[in-house]
Symmetry: C2
Subunit: 201 residues, 2 copies
């Protein structure tokens, strides 16, 4: 099996390789509000659970050479306000999620660009995407620079969960979650092609 030293490869190769073998990645569809009141929305797949206690998620926006401060709108807004909302991308929202990844002027909202309605959050200021199956309101606990990215850690202060995901005792039934996963380049995957393996003792 061929071995590759990343020091001998360019950044494009490294990006392509990492995003192709660290798959499937969950998509954090993240809404933030700028200090000017513009609601931003963008998908991030360098996203996961950081810890379950206290419930904390992380995402890692890349540095952007075209921005004066080197940040995406999401990273800038999150840093400035300390708040973000993670929206779940299920099949019905795949197209809108993709639309929201267009590069817009910071003054233009991806909610409006993608034709999405806002739903008010309970604790934080950024709105949720109306109609999504789940959303998490988050307060930022830490931001740290990691190479060409910034690692943002946010504690979940409110979960919004659609009735259709819930069992009678208010737990999520994962087989009802038709999430979209991120692969590489223009590829995504559905999570409905599931299988079970019982964990050994």
């Amino acid at each position: 099996m061929p071995a590759f030293d990343p020091d001998e490869r360019d950044r494009g190769w490294t990006y392509r390789t990492l995003t192709s073998i660290v798959v499937p990645r969950p998509i954090g569809w993240i809404s933030t509000t700028s200090t000017d009141g513009v609601d931003n929305l963008a998908p991030y797949s360098f996203f996961n659970v950081a810890t379950t206690d206290p419930p904390t998620v992380l995402f890692s926006p890349g540095r952007r050479s075209y921005a004066e401060d080197g940040r995406t709108d999401t990273a800038r807004n999150a840093r400035a306000t300390g708040e973000f909302v993670v929206n779940l991308v299920t099949g019905a929202f795949a197209e809108a999620m993709n639309e929201s990844s267009a590069t817009l002027d910071p003054g233009e909202s991806e909610f409006d660009h993608a034709g999405l309605e806002r739903a008010a959050s309970t604790v934080v200021s950024p709105p949720r995407v109306a109609g999504v199956a789940a959303a998490m309101e988050c307060e930022i606990r830490e931001i740290q620079r990691i190479g060409a990215h910034e690692l943002v850690l946010g504690e979940v202060v409110r979960f919004h969960l659609a009735d259709r995901l819930l069992t009678d005792d208010d737990r999520v039934d994962v087989t009802e979650v038709d999430a979209v996963g991120r692969l590489a380049s223009s590829w995504y995957d559905w999570t409905e092609d599931r299988f079970e393996m019982e964990r050994p003792d």
Copy 2:
């Protein structure tokens, strides 16, 4: 849509909810070697790319009340040696990956328990799983405590990529990567149910 305050729910509910809506998660099947020379292997799905430059991945092992130092074998070995290897879990290795999640005595190797062969690494000491489609040799750059977990950041110092994944110019073709994704409880998903969406300008 019902809203839930995690402060009013128990840890089991929070764990179940996060792992059910942050999906699909990539699986880092992580090999480490203890200071006593025992090769450990275990799957982690709180795993993702941290940054692509320098190529860096992260994973977040949970604290373990049954261990004297509160750490999983993987976390203990990674901390002690500064090294780990991430092995890609494709369809052919799904069962073995599940076997390797059994709770064994620290002196027993999951390689042997799951009947897996070792392949020598190039730069680091922990072995790769022989026959996997991709592996990343990593050197630890940082470990930090985050609530009930520890966030481990490792820089990739060597990529191993099977010929079957590669295009003629040595780039990974993601449609050849039949990775297994993690959902919740006993559920996993295949990534072969793919679709394409071109990113807008």
